[in-house]
Symmetry: C2
């Protein structure tokens, strides 16, 4: 029913998160409406990802340079590390604009149920950085979940023999969110993480 090049594109688009058959059809026809320059640009941007994107050998985040731009920046404070699950998480903190430390990307969370063990994620280089770079504080920012908690506890354990503080972001209620939309588990944890009103 579809020309085969459109059918192929629909299949590719369906591999994207949240894109089903209907959306993929709609997007594919929008692509058909692009002019030749835009089509070249689109195809080239994907080829460029294939050819240029690799992991930063230091922090593990994705980059198109030998080292990522943060690891390459001598003005960043090496004594503080934000440990995150995914490269994309870094963007959120960089948008915040107030953090001048460095990052470490695990590229996964420990999850024995899914066969993900500590050696499957980017942990050995974290220990090496803590040893070599005189890191004073590691702030673990992983999604609140069993996997996140397991990974956080494991990081605390493997770093316990070094002179480094391991901290975390509290579980709590996002700004502007009505409490009625927050699940009980979150409220319980937020209660445990409560702090004095300054």
């Amino acid at each position: 029913m579809y020309p085969s090049s459109i059918r192929n594109l629909i299949e590719c688009l369906k591999d994207l998160p949240g894109i089903g058959e209907k959306s993929a059809e709609r997007l594919a026809y929008a692509v058909v409406g692009f002019d030749k320059d835009k089509l070249d640009n689109f195809a080239n941007s994907i080829i460029s990802i294939k050819e240029n994107i690799k992991k930063c050998p230091i922090c593990g985040c994705i980059t198109d340079m030998d080292k990522c731009y943060i690891c390459n920046d001598d003005n960043r404070d090496s004594s503080t590390l934000f440990v995150v699950e995914k490269s994309k998480d870094i963007i959120l903190f960089e948008k915040m604009g107030t953090y001048n430390g460095r990052y470490h990307v695990l590229d996964g969370l420990i999850s024995p149920m899914d066969g993900v063990n500590p050696e499957d994620i980017n942990l050995s280089s974290l220990v090496k950085r803590v040893q070599d770079d005189n890191v004073r504080e590691v702030i673990v920012v992983l999604k609140p979940s069993i996997e996140g908690e397991t990974t956080m506890q494991y990081i605390k354990k493997i770093l316990s023999k070094y002179n480094v503080k391991v901290s975390k972001i509290p579980i709590g209620i996002p700004m502007g969110t009505d409490i009625e939309y927050i699940d009980t588990m979150t409220l319980e944890m937020a209660f445990e993480d409560r702090k004095d009103v300054a």
Copy 2:
């Protein structure tokens, strides 16, 4: 903040309908997670659209062949034409599975306000088909709107000198839709298009 190849891809994705900055970021990072084969496949599907997709010289729908598969099919009934706005509309009727006639794609609607005049859409070849192919009925299926109505009336006018019936799909209420969600204009038009209960 983003590697430049990811930034480029985000910009390309933002050109798609309904994709804003946030969605484009999410999709771009999903693309980064594709393996090399999938990236090749994705880029090639876009290049293939650039190189292979053209308009069928007969009906105006997009195709990757010299003639579209419907115009190429001798078993289709040439005496009936569905006139549609976009190539994509054909897919809907083909999914219906009961129509064995042919199509004609206008690739736009007459809209003097937007500077789209009759000569800017695929109308001259419609007249030629009606003349040459012994077409008995033209069913105009355009979206109910001022532009759709204007285009329909124009088609009726230019075909009036030929022995061809020009019909339309009634304005009405879609299956399963509660009447309270239908606007007054639609209800008025549906009332005008009312028919006897069989």
